[in-house]
Amino acid sequence: MVSVNEYEKVRLEFSKTGRAKFISHLDLNRTLRTAFVRAKVAIWFTNGFNPHPKLVFSLPLSLGAESMCEFLDIRVLPPVDHEKIKESLNKNLPDDIQIKRVYKPKTKLEDLCWSRYTFKLYFNSMSEEKANEIKSMLENPMIITKRTKKTKSGLTDIDILPGIRSSTVVFDGECVNISADLESSVDNYINPDYIIRALDKYLNIDFEQSGEYYTVMKEVTFKKDCKTVYQ
């Protein structure tokens, strides 16, 4: 058995878009595991009773959101050819999950603190005015009930406003576009779903009517200062 130290740490930046947005984190894990085998990338297996390939992800993307910047750390048996890994993995992955970059990581996964999301909202009563209402909603406290392990009821109310930065809201005639940086650190993870829930709670935008829907895309991630791009 080759010791874990002989493997080289490699980071993959990948996108998860289109149909793959409805694939849960667990299923993504399984999909990638088989893809590594198909691509013949020899990655490190955990020891023990039930050895399995070790994949370490950045915080999971919420179900239904697309992303251009997900991160995954693995350990690969040298010699490591980054370009080749990328190429062979992409051939062996579904079209909607594609590796953008393979490199030696210089940061910790925990250093990822902020994510910029674009929301596209299609609903029946869209207008300039509605966009302004959304804008002011995003600038005031928004109380969201979320699940937690800390309280007895398993639920807790939080204000998500401190976890939102530099939001813009634009109505382009077709849909309302929101761009917002949401905190995504381990301690304070603002799920993009919270924004959708706030829209329902504060403005009664619930996407229940025929033809109403929204999309969410994670565009880029930042370090703690919310400026330096995380990679």
Partner: protein, 621 residues
């Protein structure tokens, strides 16, 4: 994906959206412009079940190998999704292109169990396709059915244009080629095409055969409408199993499915000949693949799928003559790559301690045996040729191998069964518990012996096809008798819902007049009858009642040996005389040797091909 329908919106509102997205690795996308025949392959159950079916995987690959055909997958959306689709006017679509099923040239349903019939109609409705074949004009796809239930498809005959009888991997391609040829030559009409198709071996066009009935309700005769179509439709088989198409790639589901692994079909059919078993008869003659071919397929599939488990699949795997060679070859590389082997069905008699040890060297799989009956006399009558000694030895081997859980499968309501047989199930289970305590190097703790008891269902093309199913009262009484006999806490008792088995029996031995009941059931929104949460026995009874159908006529009546059976229109290769002989032997508690020991002259060898055990047709026994 929302360019066609607003699927995005509704997928946020349903459970397990991954069932409906498509886009999996390994799916086949083709250029629509270059395709001459678009085939929607529908599995009338959930995605998780449909994706696990090996037959579908094979046919998907076989059809798509042809550059003129594009085969796509369709599954039954779960109830929550159906509600959303109705609300938003989204018709049933195929997974690859997301195009509506209605727009396809051919819509194929695989009929794996009778309880899927209501779901088939449900899927036609979701597709906006009229249920009855006669109501569908040229603008609708040709609807074709196949799979084990096609051997007696009479209950659904009115809803289908055509059935493919027997093994489809070659036949379906031929069928599509005929379609393309006729379309290209310009003379195509649905009617002409179906008439031509009815001339290809293995294709049954029900509308071309009139059925008349006797006064007592039994079938009088089948009359072909043309002279140039066969009076009996003979099933198709793959002649050389080693050379037949086997997929090199599976579609890799994103979400977990029932059998999410590599499945190798070691052989097709079964050399045994249990008298209740339809699969053992309709897939005759048994044909095995060589270990070389299997090992090659396994390697290719491992490389192309990345799965870490290989399951060897067939009706009775340990009868495979080269099992040792095969496992040797596989273990040469699977251990190294941390790929597990699993064997699903084991027979107690040929179960060797060694084989089990070798397989569990990678991963343990559940241990199950199927004695089917509690007493040797009844096991002889059903031709389940295993004896108690075999069962005990196998269990002992399992216990010595460190296991303390065994599962035993039985049936109740079998022809010739007595109270003693039912009580024998408990005795046998208790003896297995004793065996555990007598095993010296057994694991610690108490054993669990699970007995799972199904209700016997008489199936077409078996020696018991004439026999009646026990009535509900009888079945419940038997289940209770057994329950009250079990006192040992190491024995766990599961039994099947007799209501479900009865409905299954009605459709298994049904005729065309049942289509009325199915259409009514569709009207009332029946679907997913194989699911406990959807099945409603009382509703079925009232549907039958409303249609003037007596379910007992089909389920609980002994069919006359000289009666024309609804499925006599099909020739499955095995002769009716053989079934009769076997039936009479059953009533004399006489066993028949399996095909490996000697040929019982069932007639299947006339189908030809490279059969593993059959004498060639020239050397008549």
């Amino acid at each position: 994906m929302n360019e066609k329908y607003n699927i995005d919106g509704i997928l946020r509102k349903v459970l397990k959206p991954g069932r409906y997205t498509g886009g999996e690795y390994g799916q086949i996308i083709k250029d629509k412009e270059k395709i001459k025949c678009r085939f929607a392959f529908a599995f009338p159950d959930t995605y998780e079940i449909g994706m696990s079916n090996l037959g579908v995987r094979i046919l998907y690959g076989a059809l798509n190998k042809n550059e003129n055909i594009w085969c796509e997958r369709v599954y039954a959306p779960w109830i929550d999704m159906q509600q959303q689709m109705k609300k938003h006017n989204i018709p049933l679509y195929a997974h690859e292109s997301m195009d509506p099923v209605r727009k396809f040239d051919i819509l194929g349903f695989t009929l794996q169990y009778e309880l899927c019939y209501s779901t088939v109609l449900n899927m036609l409705e979701l597709s906006d396709i009229p249920l009855y074949a006669k109501d569908r004009g040229e603008e609708y796809p040709i609807v074709i059915g196949g799979g084990p239930c096609a051997y007696n498809a009479e209950p659904v005959a009115d809803f289908f244009d055509v059935f493919s009888i027997g093994e489809g991997e070659e036949a379906l391609v031929e069928f599509c080629e005929l379609y393309i040829k006729m379309k290209e030559s310009g003379g195509y009409t649905k009617e002409k095409f179906l008439h031509e198709a009815a001339k290809i071996e293995g294709f049954y066009v029900p509308s071309l055969y009139d059925v008349s009935y006797n006064d007592d309700g039994t079938v009088k005769e089948y009359t072909p409408k043309y002279d140039d179509i066969p009076t009996k439709i003979r099933k198709r088989i793959i002649k050389d199993f080693d050379k037949t198409y086997f997929p090199e790639q599976f579609v890799m589901p994103y979400i977990e499915t029932v059998h999410d692994r590599i499945v190798l079909e070691v052989y097709r059919g079964c050399p045994r000949g249990c008298r209740f078993c339809q699969a053992g008869m309709i897939y005759r003659p048994a044909r095995a693949k060589s270990p070389e071919v299997l090992n090659r397929d396994a390697k290719t599939l491992y490389e192309n799928t990345g799965y870490d488990e290989i399951s060897l699949c067939s009706l009775s795997i340990s009868d495979y003559p080269h099992i040792r060679e095969l496992t040797d070859k596989l273990l040469e590389w699977t251990d190294d790559k941390m790929v597990g082997l699993s064997l699903p069905s084991m027979r107690a008699d040929s179960f060797s301690r060694e084989l089990m040890k070798r397989v569990s060297s990678v991963r343990a799989s559940g241990l199950t045996f199927a004695p089917e009956a509690g007493m040797q006399r009844l096991r002889d009558a059903i031709n389940k040729n295993i004896c108690e000694k075999d069962i005990f030895e196998a269990c002992r081997a399992a216990f010595e191998g460190g296991r303390n859980q065994v599962k035993l499968y039985f049936m109740c309501g079998l022809p010739t069964e007595t109270e003693e047989d039912i009580l024998g199930i408990e005795k046998l289970a208790r003896a297995v518990v004793d065996e555990y305590y007598q095993t010296e190097n057994r694991p610690k703790g108490r054993p669990t012996v699970t007995i799972s008891v199904a209700c016997f269902i008489p199936k077409p093309f078996t020696p018991f096809q004439w026999d009646r199913q026990s009535t509900m009262e009888e079945l419940v009484e038997k289940q209770q008798l057994l329950a009250s006999a079990i006192t040992d806490r190491s024995i766990k008792y599961n039994y099947h819902d007799a209501n479900v088995s009865r409905i299954e029996a009605v459709f298994a031995r049904g005729d065309r007049r049942l289509s009325k009941a199915l259409a009514k059931a569709a009207e009332y929104g029946f679907k997913f009858d194989a699911w406990d949460e959807c099945f409603d026995y009382d509703k079925w009874l009232s549907v039958f009642d409303e249609c003037g159908i007596d379910p007992s006529f089909y389920a609980n009546r002994e069919f006359g040996e000289d009666e024309v059976l609804p499925w006599d229109i099909i020739d499955c290769g095995v002769s009716k005389e053989f079934f009769l002989r076997e039936r009479h032997k059953a009533y004399n508690d006489t066993v028949t040797e399996n095909c490996m020991k000697s040929c019982a002259g069932c007639g299947a060898n006339k189908l030809g091909g490279e059969c593993t055990w059959c004498p060639s047709t020239n050397t008549k026994k």
